[in-house]
């Protein structure tokens, strides 16, 4: 077993890892989609009048905030088939990606709820009043005045949540999903654990580049959308 550092392994392993980004992205995108839906439902519950709904949403968020991703992932991975078993369903053969998506949708939903809620609350109530006072209906006031402004406010936090999701998603390999981290571990195992450092460095470079790209994308997006935003801060 040779243990020395050889930087060429970093460059060699990057092309081997990149194709598996597809899996990483697929899982992330679906989690974002479902998580955002969950986030909207939770935010509506938190902002609504029903006390029960509000408490349920708060409880959900507290629990999710206090649960490590890896624990949630395994709870879902072992728990869902067990529940299915008790209901007489065989869920053991579902694709592992499904468990990963369920886990991170649940988690992203909790993050998004706070993002949506704080964005909504940051919009001055006067905006709604002005909209209805010029004859817009409630729905029109939300759709044309409140939502577009809240969207801009939410953008940076949405970007941060996205980065968090991408990184927590790196744990998917622990239940055997062959995404980019899973592939890295496979390569190392096939090398009899030699040059692990180089391959992990390659992995970190890929994540780093993607994160920086996402960050820049959101900065650009923010700039493009932030017309008229300055006075929001002033209010």
């Amino acid at each position: 077993m040779e243990k020395y550092f050889d930087a060429t392994y970093i460059l060699q392993s990057i092309p081997m890892l990149l194709p598996f980004l597809k899996v990483t992205f697929m899982v992330a995108c679906l989690s974002i989609l479902f998580g955002t839906i969950i986030g909207f439902i939770l935010a509506a519950a938190k902002l609504g009048k029903s006390k029960i709904a509000r408490n349920l949403a708060n409880g959900y968020i507290t629990i999710l905030r206090c649960t490590p991703s890896i624990v949630l992932l395994f709870l879902v991975y072992y728990g869902i088939p067990a529940i299915g078993n008790n209901l007489g369903m065989n869920l053991n053969d579902i694709d592992k990606a499904v468990f990963v998506i369920v886990t991170f949708s649940l988690q992203f939903g909790a993050l998004m709820c706070e993002v949506i809620r704080s964005a909504y609350e940051s919009i001055d109530k006067g905006q709604f009043e002005a909209a209805v006072s010029v004859g817009l209906s409630n729905i029109q006031a939300y759709g044309r005045i409140i939502f577009p402004q809240a969207f801009v406010v939410a953008l940076p936090n949405f970007g941060n949540s996205l980065l968090a999701l991408l990184q927590e998603g790196a744990l998917a390999y622990t239940i055997g999903l062959i995404d980019i981290v899973g592939k890295a571990n496979l390569i190392i195992a096939s090398n009899y654990n030699a040059h692990a450092l180089e391959i992990f460095l390659a992995l970190s470079i890929i994540y780093w580049v993607i994160s920086i790209a996402i960050e820049h994308f959101f900065l650009k997006l923010e700039r493009a959308f932030s017309k008229g935003k300055q006075s929001l801060k002033a209010l």
């Binding site: 006067g126 905006q127 002005a130 004859g135 029109q140 935003k229």
Partner: protein, 251 residues
């Protein structure tokens, strides 16, 4: 044209409006005066359903609307006939000056865009902002923002415009431009109900002044009645406190 009867409103324990009646005829410019906390702003907000009154009746062109139990359609119809100018302008931050003015026409009244833009530009010209069609609220001074707010109210050609302390949030040197615009639209015969602390506006422009305190109307009459011959002790005390030394009333 608009009559408000026995309007009452509480926030928690404190009763802000204790049964207020006012009557406004077409073309009236009515100014409501009163110390802060007297319920002036709440009265205005209740008329436009920005607050829900606990009790009260609005008679709009002979149609009774219960302020407490009004249906969504009734609320919408009142809002279509009235316009509101806010103390802190409340311009739509995500829209340009022109878009702010046309939003109510295009979306609220389904007017074709070209027509709305034409009316919108006219309204902005009227308030002296012909150069600022495409400016966002953040690019405008407070006085300019409030003038857009007034244009936004005027453009929908409402039966009455409600002004809620339109100059209170402005720096002193910007008050004049807004008052001038208000005077001009009053001259055109627009019906206005104005809550303000600008005594000169009440004196020069109003044809009726209402003095409110602690949730009730203390006294009302022509500006002359109120400023020269106030009947009530409370009115006198208030005027003495707020009127500048050199404030004189010429007929």
């Amino acid at each position: 044209m608009l009559e408000i009867k026995n309007i009452q409103k509480s926030f928690g324990e404190s009763k802000i409006l204790k049964g207020v009646d006012i009557k406004i005829d077409k073309g009236d410019v009515v100014v409501i005066l009163g110390p802060s906390g007297s319920g002036k702003t709440t009265l205005l907000r209740c008329i436009n359903f920005l607050e829900k009154a606990d009790e009260g009746l609005a008679v709009f062109d002979g149609i009774d609307i219960n302020l407490k139990t009004a249906s969504k359609r009734q609320i919408h119809s009142i809002r279509q006939k009235t316009a509101f100018v806010f103390q802190n302008y409340n311009l739509f931050n995500n829209k340009t000056a022109l878009e702010n003015v046309t939003e109510g026409l295009i979306v609220g009244r389904k007017m074709p865009k070209e027509e709305a833009n034409e009316l919108g530009k006219k309204a902005l010209n009227k308030v002296g902002l012909s150069e600022k069609y495409n400016a966002y609220p953040s690019e405008l001074s407070g006085g300019q923002q409030q003038r857009v707010g007034i244009a936004r109210a005027v453009v929908i050609d409402p039966d009455i415009i409600l002004f809620d302390e339109p100059t209170s949030a402005l720096d002193p040197e910007l008050v004049g431009e807004v008052l001038t615009v208000m005077k001009n639209i009053a001259k055109e015969g627009t019906t206005m109900l104005v809550v303000t602390h600008e005594m000169s506006f009440a004196k020069d422009v109003a044809n009726r002044v209402i003095f409110m305190d602690e949730g009730i109307v203390i006294e009302e009459g022509s500006p002359k009645d109120i400023f020269v011959h106030p009947k009530e002790e409370r009115t006198r005390k208030f005027l003495k406190r707020v009127l500048p030394e050199d404030f004189t009333y010429y007929i």
